[in-house]
Amino acid sequence: MRNSILLLLILSAFSFIIEEEELMQKPKNFPKPTYNFKKNPLKKETIELGRTLFYDPILSRNNTIACSNCHLQYTAFTHVDHALSHGIEDKIGIRNSPALMNLAWQNTFMWDGAINHLDMQSLAPISNPLEMDEKIENVVAKLQKDSKYRKLFYAAYQDSIVTGEHLLKSISQFMLTLVSANSKYDKMKRKELEFSDQEKNGYKLFKKHCNNCHTEPLFTNFQFENNGIGMDTSLKDFGRLRITLNPSDSLKFKVPTLRNIEFSSPYMHDGRFKRLNEVLKHYTTGIKSSKTLANKLKQPINLTPNEKVDLITFLLTLSDKEFLFNPKFGYPK
């Protein structure tokens, strides 16, 4: 009797682990996620609710803009073609929308780190007058009136009363499942395939010049750095300075991941570069000196034309088509 209970316990623990893995990929070549899942345990119904919300313009004042308007799956959840984000009534924002992936490993959000927790992220676009321009209180009221959402909230929380907490946590759950870890690079790391000589050389150059900021395997060290692109004087965006009010943070922006970089053009916080060779041109000959320029970029990076090609070939191994076309992340049926 005892033994069988023990067995049952062990089995149920296993099934729990397997189920978790089904809800969200936990790649072997990644560190442990930093998101606290104990406070918001993943559940199929809650993820589905979050996904429905992510794709629903009901979150905006005039029901026209959804999160997915600026975060489109096929471009690694960033905006297509717009250097600066495009919001409600065609209003233009002040920054380029970042690609969204592997958010369970990230602790601060936005280019300047203004957001301190994934759960609180959605509040920013919902209330931004240039994005969705709506009050969270109104969103809750709109959802409460909608019988589809009452059912979805009930399925997720056994409670059809919509609260701000549940709304935010369910959107987090969907975003947490957006794991990209099946690129050619990952498969090489997991020894499922090998790099070509060109890719190998690109990888070597990457480790030498880029990896200290765009650190493997997430391709960011999550620090704020000034990479010498200089300020666009029409935007006057000082980055991290706005948050810490500390002059030593002037012109620093969060190091973005380079995963799926092939698809997330345009690049940088203001979307100033369209192509990867423009980015490499910047790092080799375009660095603008200033007080807060990262130490690592004070010495010039020299790359021959062939080396540039190799480096870009490596960057393309970070593309993850399984992620970009995974139907689980797409518009809900």
Partner: protein
């Protein structure tokens, strides 16, 4: 076995009943201006003789309530987060069903930094309460809005949204009162608070800053035990 369970259930039920009966610790907060309880949205007050001040919105977080006896903690409220709100539908009382002897009470004005970085919560901390900054995360520890002829702003409005949890702009404040009375009345002297503010220059604070830290300190100094209490 069944009988044993039944007894346990009755005991639990009884203790829950008892707990519900004694709302033993009661904290009441009263915003005052020149000794009068503040009337929101209507009454006009003056700081000096030549001005007028009117209050519209006043909300404030009280958290981490703790009782001490002889300098030692004897009770800490769990999940101790309360949102006080004055004016329309006021919530100015905190009731805690305990019966413990104490000689000092401590509490904080605002939300601690750990809670600030731990994501979404419900109840008093739900972001739909309008006490959360959306463009740069963090709780607004207290909010005071109104109008004054001293403010050279649109409609003479002033808005103080005071918060910030990160060094060096942490605004959370600790209050300590020596009392053993379980029914505590605390006055918030808005006249004193407003006198210390320079309304003509500082009338719009909506983000963490050195200024916000100063205002938070001055705000905490305007909380006093009601004098006829001791």
């Amino acid at each position: 076995m069944i009988r044993f369970c039944a007894i346990i259930f009755i005991l639990i039920g009884f203790s829950v009943y008892l707990k519900a009966q004694n709302h033993n610790l009661v904290l009441q907060f009263n915003p005052k201006f020149h000794q009068e309880i503040v009337q929101f949205d209507e009454e006009y007050y003056s700081i000096t003789e030549k001005d007028s001040v009117q209050f519209d919105i006043f909300r404030c977080y009280i958290s981490n309530i703790q009782l001490l006896k002889n300098g030692k903690s004897v009770y800490k409220e769990k999940d101790s987060y309360h949102l006080l709100s004055f004016g329309e539908n006021p919530k100015n009382e905190i009731k805690i069903p305990i019966d413990i002897a104490f000689d000092q009470i401590e509490m904080q004005i605002g939300i601690d930094s750990l809670t600030n970085v731990s994501g979404a919560f419900g109840g008093a901390l739900d972001p739909t309460n309008g006490m959360y900054w959306t463009w740069q995360n963090g709780y607004i520890n207290f909010k005071l809005e109104g109008k004054s002829t001293l403010c050279n702003t649109r409609n003479h409005e002033f808005q103080y949204h005071i918060g910030g949890y990160q060094f060096p702009f942490s605004t959370i404040q600790t209050l300590k009162f020596h009392t053993s009375n379980p029914s505590i009345s605390i006055d918030i002297l808005l006249d004193k608070f407003m006198e210390n503010l320079n309304l003509s220059t500082t009338n719009h604070i909506m983000s963490p800053s050195t200024n916000a830290v100063e205002i938070a300190k001055s705000f905490a100094n305007s909380f006093i035990l009601e004098t006829n209490e001791k």
